[in-house]
Symmetry: C2
Subunit: 337 residues, 2 copies
Amino acid sequence: MNHQRPQKKTTIYDLAELAGTSASAVSAVLNGNWKKRRISSQLADKITKIAEEQGYAVNMQASLLRRDKSRIIGMLVPKYDNRYFGSIVETFEIMARERGLFPIITCTLRNPELEVEAARTMLSYQVEWLISTGATDPDRITDLCLAGGARSLNLDLPGSKATSIISDNFGGARELTRRTLLNLQRKKGALLPLLFIGGRGADHNTAERIRGFRTAHQDLGVTIEEHHILACGYAPEKAADALNALVTSEGSVPAGLFVNSTISLEGVMRWLKSSPMGIDSQPVIGCFDWDPFVALMGHEIEMARQDVAGMLNAVFDIVESGDSGDRKLIEIQPIFA
Amino acid sequence: MNHQRPQKKTTIYDLAELAGTSASAVSAVLNGNWKKRRISSQLADKITKIAEEQGYAVNMQASLLRRDKSRIIGMLVPKYDNRYFGSIVETFEIMARERGLFPIITCTLRNPELEVEAARTMLSYQVEWLISTGATDPDRITDLCLAGGARSLNLDLPGSKATSIISDNFGGARELTRRTLLNLQRKKGALLPLLFIGGRGADHNTAERIRGFRTAHQDLGVTIEEHHILACGYAPEKAADALNALVTSEGSVPAGLFVNSTISLEGVMRWLKSSPMGIDSQPVIGCFDWDPFVALMGHEIEMARQDVAGMLNAVFDIVESGDSGDRKLIEIQPIFA
DNA sequence: CTGCACTGCTCAATCGATGAAGCAAGAATT
DNA sequence: AATTCTTGCTTCATCGATTGAGCAGTGCAG
């Protein structure tokens, strides 16, 4: 048996006693403003040394209670299961730390109730800012923040009550569609309309991407089949089901696909793999989102990679300027390989 | 201009004034032990209603300062850029919340200094437990926790000073190797030794997987080529470089590969795609880790999927039993499709 | 009519860190 | 010698929530 009982925590009072001084001197030394408070450098050195020996760490709860700013920044994110959100979270943490902020992240599993509960918890922890990423009801969260003394921003999906930073979904989809149409022309020798699959018709991003999809077809003079716009949801199975239904009613699938996320693409690829169609009749694909393995799959798949660093730079510009002034919609161009 | 100045935060004193009662009654009501404190249900209802109207949220900093347990559980994770860690983080959050714990997660980018700094910060936030996932120096973190009044566990990579929960790397690699050898035999009609690629030879997991790799070859009476064990690091480029070097010195690559992570696999696949070898001479692959798109790639790739839920159940069993007693090594069997 | 139990609350100390205000002793100025 | 200034600290109130102790008022037994 090896009892690893963690020790009782050291406080500034313990350090003060060890150093034969007062807690307030210790506090002044440890947060670096001992010059302002006219503490001698001998005492400062002594206290610093003792603090190190004792492995002292401030009690943030006590410290933050006293201060007026928490320097905590929260983020709500739907899932960690794809490269887009993974990259958002990782970049967010790095950028927050670079600015001396402490990031807290929570995933809400696309569950509206969890979103609200998580937001409340974040407010309890005194976040100064709350970034709602891909939230189902961002305005609800903005209201909570407003009542709870925090500022809020929306990322990825826009809301109407706070500034929103999103991809240029229209422009990105238009370009992705254009590229995919040309890839298809190269392969088949003709301009043929694409199938749009994945996403929720009700959400802003999907609506804008469908608009870009339409515009790109128009640009090239291609007529869209209206029943080939399938905003069937994001889950992989939904995409597979939608393709099955299409084959049942029409006997085949278009030669080119616009897939609305890597999550949907997972369903599409699974379906294609098990489909009765021959390998050489595999469709040309464009995907709105990026994944490294997709880039390596047999198919040449065109991908629109959302500019995560660009979006988060915009977020932190606002956070640092402290300007939650008027609610803007900031659109960031996606990147093409 | 739309000044979204967040309001000053409501405290229990504000609520007490509004309800014409004392802060202590408000506190008792809001944390649900008003029965114990003999508050009438009329007053309880009144306070609850007012709190809701005001959008009150406790100040956790103040609350935690007073309580003895923080119910905060921290996790250090190297990256968010693959399905394994993504799944660990997501499952960790869910399980923590189910148990009334507040999870804080930080990624350390495989940077030893960041690991230590992040651990210190977590201690400042009064975590009760700190889970080090894939840490480069888990024992250092355990020491910090011990000094700082927290308990610690290691996940994914073991340490010597705290209980560690890891995959059964030996058993998993042995089974994965066996399956890959048989796949290769099915394809080529003969038992041929595999190439091991990826990971760091110095880390426990890679060493154990190499041991499993050897044992599986022995089991089937296949002789390993010693210079075909390439623990070249995890980054994709490292794997590609190692393969290039091999081709330069030997002119070709073995017909079967054991790839030590999806990250390394990314490099391997990239290299294969651009390699001069014909498509039908693509090697048979086994990968220690899982990714949904890999499962869909043209190749039949055998994958050992680490049992994230199983590992985290073991973590929370220990957390809940409060038993950091003796340091054990708990190994969880990976899952084969 | 006194004593005791019970109900329904309030008071005040406390958690640890912070910083404005103040104090004592020596140095410098008049 | 009397005064101001400067240095180097300490004291104490404060942040918001929690909780043991205590206090009025009512009900009921003896």
